[in-house]
């Protein structure tokens, strides 16, 4: 209680001191008061309250002799002269907040939003006899308890000496930005207009000199929060998916076997039963698994599982199969050296004519061995005879007559590649 009373007293003293200082500055004050104010800038808080009375007491008590002992240098005097700026009593100022509209009106506290551009309009009325030239406007956020302590200075706007004649008025707009980090704090806002009179004397007149509290405006849609929620939802979904996957992977094997037993109904059962140890019951497919139960056989195509039955299905010897493929490929290969045939991508242009001839002979011999190939016999004959003369014409006729579709040629190429070692052996033999 006592501390409160003391602080109230000190505030009153401060206010009195400030009023005195201002009036004395307007009338051309002694530099001591200004120096006193500037000297007190560094301290703040409770310490301020205690230093001020001693300062002012010293000032009032010591008076002239105490201050005269510290003779200021020329530089300091210039500074002090600059600081002697106060209002002119011939000028009347009023203000209006353009943004936010209606701020600081009678009955409403001055609340400013952070992160916005605050616009103020100042109105100046010249009640004197001479013209005033308005130079600049500036603003600052100060410590509310001590308006001489500046927390943030705002930019100075120049008005380039706008003339305001006697009896006339003028309006000036000033704007500044409040930093978003200053939310939920109160400051002393000063907006000052700087002007000079006809004699060139400068004045600094406060249009606004009051405490303002800053608040954070409600934006409505906050992008940050929105995307944070999306991120959390996705994380939760991911976690659920992970748990589901883990449960699926690490359930006991019995459950898996039971599932696949229900699923398998195809003829693969018969094929697997042939491979099983007892080989008796057709339905003993071991649940779609291998005989050892290690892996799942359902996905393997049927032809690979019929290991023992493969020979029986294809009624052709490997040798016959190989030469048959060569015959197919031979029709395509013959015209390689000369024709630049873009569509036959499987052709190898560097093969020489001699090898082509050798292949022809191989074709013919194989044909005789196999005892006729079928519909391809005729075109192979013709090609073998005519290829010596002009390859280019034959190429087209060969393709036309061979009756190959794209797929067949690809299969023929694959077969040819497989029998490549065999062919080289043939050439050496021939």
């Amino acid at each position: 209680m006592r501390v409160f009373a003391v602080s109230v007293l000190l505030l009153a003293l401060l206010a009195f001191h400030a009023v005195l200082a201002q009036e004395s500055a307007a009338g051309g004050a002694s530099p001591e008061d200004q120096l006193e104010e500037e000297g007190n800038v560094e301290s703040e808080g409770a310490e301020r309250a205690e230093k001020v009375p001693t300062g002012s007491a010293a000032d009032s008590g010591a008076g002239e002799p105490g201050m005269a002992s510290d003779t200021p240098s020329a530089e300091q005097q210039d500074e002090m002269t600059k600081l002697q700026l106060g209002p002119s009593d011939k000028v009347q100022l009023s203000h209006l907040f353009l943004y936010p509209a209606g701020a600081g009106q009678v009955g409403r506290s001055l609340d400013l939003p952070t992160g916005k551009t605050i616009r103020v309009a100042m109105h100046m009325r010249n009640k004197g006899d001479s013209t005033f030239h308005v130079d600049l406007a500036t603003a600052a956020f100060r410590y509310p308890m001590d308006m001489s302590y500046v927390i943030q200075n705002f930019s100075t706007v120049r008005y380039h000496g706008q003339d305001v004649e006697p009896g006339r008025e003028a309006s000036f707009v000033y704007q500044f930005n409040t930093d978003p980090q200053l939310a939920a704090r109160s400051f002393g806002l000063t907006v000052q207009l700087g002007y000079r009179d006809a004699e060139g004397k400068n004045y600094l007149h406060s249009a606004i000199n009051q405490t303002v509290s800053l608040f954070e405006p409600d934006e409505g849609f906050d992008g940050e929060t929105f995307f944070m929620y999306i991120f959390l939802i996705v994380l939760a979904a991911l976690a659920c998916a992970g748990i589901w996957y883990l449960l699926k992977t690490y359930t006991p094997a019995k459950k898996l076997a039971a599932k696949s037993r229900h699923a398998v109904k195809s003829s693969k059962a018969a094929a697997l039963s042939a491979d099983s140890a007892d080989g008796s019951a057709p339905n003993n497919n071991n649940g779609g698994l291998s005989p050892g139960g290690n892996y799942n056989l359902e996905w393997i195509p049927q032809q690979h599982l019929d290991i023992k039955n493969r020979r029986a299905k294809t009624a052709q010897s490997p040798r016959q199969r190989k030469t048959h493929a060569v015959a197919h490929v031979g029709t395509v290969m013959i015209h390689v050296p000369d024709a630049a045939v873009a569509h036959s991508t499987m052709l190898r242009p560097e093969r020489s004519h001699s090898s082509a001839v050798a292949k022809q002979e191989g074709c013919v011999s194989s044909r005789m061995q196999a005892g006729g190939q079928g519909p391809d016999a005729e075109p192979v004959d013709r090609i073998a005879e005519a290829s010596q003369t002009s390859h280019k014409e034959d190429s087209r006729s060969a393709i036309a007559n061979s009756g190959q579709s794209g797929q067949q040629t690809l299969l023929a190429l694959a077969a040819w590649l497989l029998t490549l070692p065999g062919m080289s052996a043939e050439q050496m033999a021939a």
Binding site: L96, E169, A170, A342, A400, N401
Partner: protein, 195 residues
């Protein structure tokens, strides 16, 4: 009797103090804000000048006139709005807006100065008070070509580009198409012949 005198004295005191507390003179005070709404001022395109007049005084302003003589006829053509406007009455706490739309006729740097307001501070006032609005300051009028370079659709440029790049695309396509057609014809022809 003493009560009457006391009352009279009090009333007189009140009137006196009312008259004496004329720090703000008690009349109307008009703040005029002149602003240019454009981001870019381009020769041949509209410039919107907005005037807002606020009455921050205690009384209604009478016969409010706004005079704008700061846009010379050689440099600006008035598209819409008036340069001399009059309002009969502006109550305290109210505001009015006025818009003037101009077209710059040349490319130059222009110093937009203040407009002049004249009004009577109250009904009883004898003479008009003259006030100046705010000045937007220096404005630079840019060429139409500079503006178009940045903002136009560039339709002709795209058309020219399309025409110049068409050969590089069409010629290989035609070659490919001819080739595909020829050999697919050949393939289908040969398969038909054999089957």
């Amino acid at each position: 009797m003493s009560q009457l005198t006391a009352c009279a004295f009090l009333i007189g005191l009140v009137i006196f103090t009312c008259g004496a507390a004329a720090d703000s003179d008690g009349g109307a005070q008009l703040i005029g804000v002149k602003s240019i709404a454009n981001n870019l001022i381009v020769k041949g395109m509209d410039v919107t000048v907005q005037y807002d007049i606020y009455n921050v005084g205690d009384k209604a302003a009478m016969n409010v006139q706004l005079e704008e003589d700061g846009f010379p006829i050689d440099y600006f053509a008035v598209r819409s709005g008036f340069q001399h406007v009059r309002w009969t009455r502006l109550p305290p706490g109210a505001n009015v807006s006025h818009t003037l739309i101009l077209t710059p006729l040349q490319t130059f740097v222009f110093n937009a100065s203040h407009a002049v307001m004249r009004y009577k501070v109250s009904d009883e006032a004898t003479g008009s008070t003259v006030g100046y609005t705010t000045s937007p300051g220096e404005i630079a009028v840019i060429e139409t070509a500079d503006y178009d370079r940045q903002f136009s659709a560039h339709a002709m440029d795209w058309l020219t580009f399309g025409m110049m790049t068409t050969p590089s695309i069409i010629i290989p396509f035609l070659l490919w198409y001819a080739s595909v057609r020829k050999y697919s014809n050949l393939a289908s022809h040969s398969s038909r012949k054999n089957n």
